[in-house]
């Protein structure tokens, strides 16, 4: 078990070192998230006010920005591992292969967390959404939702690294499978943003997301090795 976490840590640290040097992923992902917010603001803001019931537009825009920029980050992360075929080098290492998956997943999560730290306050500011009223519930939604999206996304992006037309295939495969995450994220956030916050509803969505995380992380750990060797 210790060798498992040692390998995880090595992969995470390597990814952070690479990213610290280029900062490419952080800046592109962040700017892409901002672009998403801007585009959806054009669609969903009229007379300076978001459309729909209070918070509905803000919740949707926030989660769409996370999903879209997350897809971009996933694609680029594994494109980087493809460049010198280093993904194969990782698979050749004498560590249990799911450790590689967990390492890559944690790297993606760190990146998405950094993106959300900027995006969430920005959405709150631009759409007068009270995202910080219930900080712990909101944080739980964000964490559970991001893990759910990233655990499926990391596996799909990793396995598509050796497929043809991987750039288009990633969103095509990923969005239908992660629809429950999107519904839970948007509805949960919406419940918190209501003039009278629906705490029970938000808690239901958090629990659903946690179940999703457990099921899909388990499945990903189990399928990673057979999917990565051809």
């Amino acid at each position: 078990m210790t060798s498992f976490w040692r390998a995880v840590w090595l992969v995470v640290r390597k990814d952070l070192a690479v990213e610290a040097r280029s900062r490419e992923l952080l800046f592109t992902t962040l700017f892409f998230a901002l672009s998403c917010v801007l585009i959806f603001a054009v669609a969903f803001v009229r007379e300076g006010k978001p459309l729909g019931e209070a918070g509905d537009a803000a919740a949707g825009i926030l989660w769409i920005a996370i999903a879209f920029s997350g897809t971009l980050a996933l694609g680029r992360t594994f494109e980087r591992e493809r460049y010198n075929d280093t993904l194969r080098a990782l698979m050749l290492a004498p560590v249990v292969r799911p450790a590689i998956y967990v390492g890559k997943l944690l790297g993606i999560l760190a990146l998405l967390a950094a993106t959300e730290i900027v995006t969430v306050p920005l959405v709150a500011l631009l759409f007068q959404a009270r995202l910080f009223e219930r900080v712990s519930l909101m944080a739980a939604l964000l964490v559970a939702g991001t893990v759910g999206f990233a655990c499926v996304g990391t596996l799909f992006a990793a396995m598509l690294a050796r497929a043809r037309s991987r750039d288009v295939l990633l969103p095509i495969l990923l969005y239908p499978v992660t629809i429950p995450v999107m519904i839970a994220g948007v509805r949960g956030t919406g419940a918190l943003l209501d003039p009278e916050p629906n705490i029970a509803m938000a808690q239901f969505w958090i629990v659903l997301l946690l179940f999703f995380d457990v099921v899909f992380v388990t499945l990903a750990l189990w399928t990673f090795e057979p999917l990565m060797t051809d």
Binding site: M159, I172, P176, I183, D230
Partner: protein
């Protein structure tokens, strides 16, 4: 299965004729009138599509564990049939909705769920078509995830939609309506089995042909 193929087709045709007769003779439902008869062509494929998706997921999991091509061929056939039956359900559903609720699409929970599962298996077929060599393993992974996703899709779609006034979908069925429905269901099930067998057979022949080609000195 191969020997039973022809008799199965005969039984299937008999079932279809009787189903059509039964449906034609079934009483007109009071509010929906003739349009209610769409239901006989909507409910069976919708249910079978979901079962087929789960079947495809199980076969794909078996393929990932055992690495035997036979499982993959069944999974591919099941995925194609999931899309076919899903398409039938997604065409007949809105036809019903137009008459019942006045609009083609109201994000009714069950139809939405069918739509999402249909999307997952369409992406399965896209991956197989455009993924290049080795995509059968990758699509097997996708099918396993798609299967595991079914309960989450069901729960989330239902919760999402109960935020709004609930509309009753399936009318309670008196016996006159139930008999033709079950005959129709049996027909669709048998059709599924026949198509699956035929599709797997084609894939087997294809693999055999590929093997001959590989073994030859071309």
């Amino acid at each position: 299965m191969r020997k039973a193929f022809l008799p199965l087709v005969v039984v299937l045709m008999a079932l279809y004729v009787s189903a059509l007769l039964l449906i034609a003779r079934a009483p007109f439902e009071s509010t929906m009138g003739l349009v209610q008869k769409i239901f006989y062509f909507h409910f069976p494929p919708a249910v079978l599509m979901l079962l087929s998706a789960i079947f495809c997921g199980l076969m794909s999991a078996a393929f990932l564990i055992r690495k035997r091509q036979a499982f993959d061929r069944i999974a591919l056939a099941a995925a194609e049939l999931t899309v076919l039956y899903g398409s039938i359900a997604l065409v007949t559903g809105p036809l019903w909705a137009r008459k019942a609720w006045g609009v083609w699409w109201v994000w009714d929970p069950r139809l939405t769920m069918s739509f999402l599962m249909w999307m997952i298996f369409v992406s399965y077929l896209i991956l197989r078509k455009y993924g290049g060599p080795g995509s059968e393993t990758l699509s097997a992974g996708l099918a396993v995830f798609g299967m595991a996703n079914a309960p989450f899709v069901y729960l989330s779609v239902n919760m999402w939609r109960t935020m709004h006034p609930k509309t009753s979908v399936v009318p309670t069925l008196p016996v006159d309506f139930a008999t033709p429905l079950w005959v129709s269901f049996a027909g669709f099930l048998l059709l599924y089995i026949v198509l699956l067998t035929a599709r797997v057979r084609i894939a087997e022949q294809q693999a055999l042909l590929d093997q001959l080609y590989v073994d030859s000195d071309l």
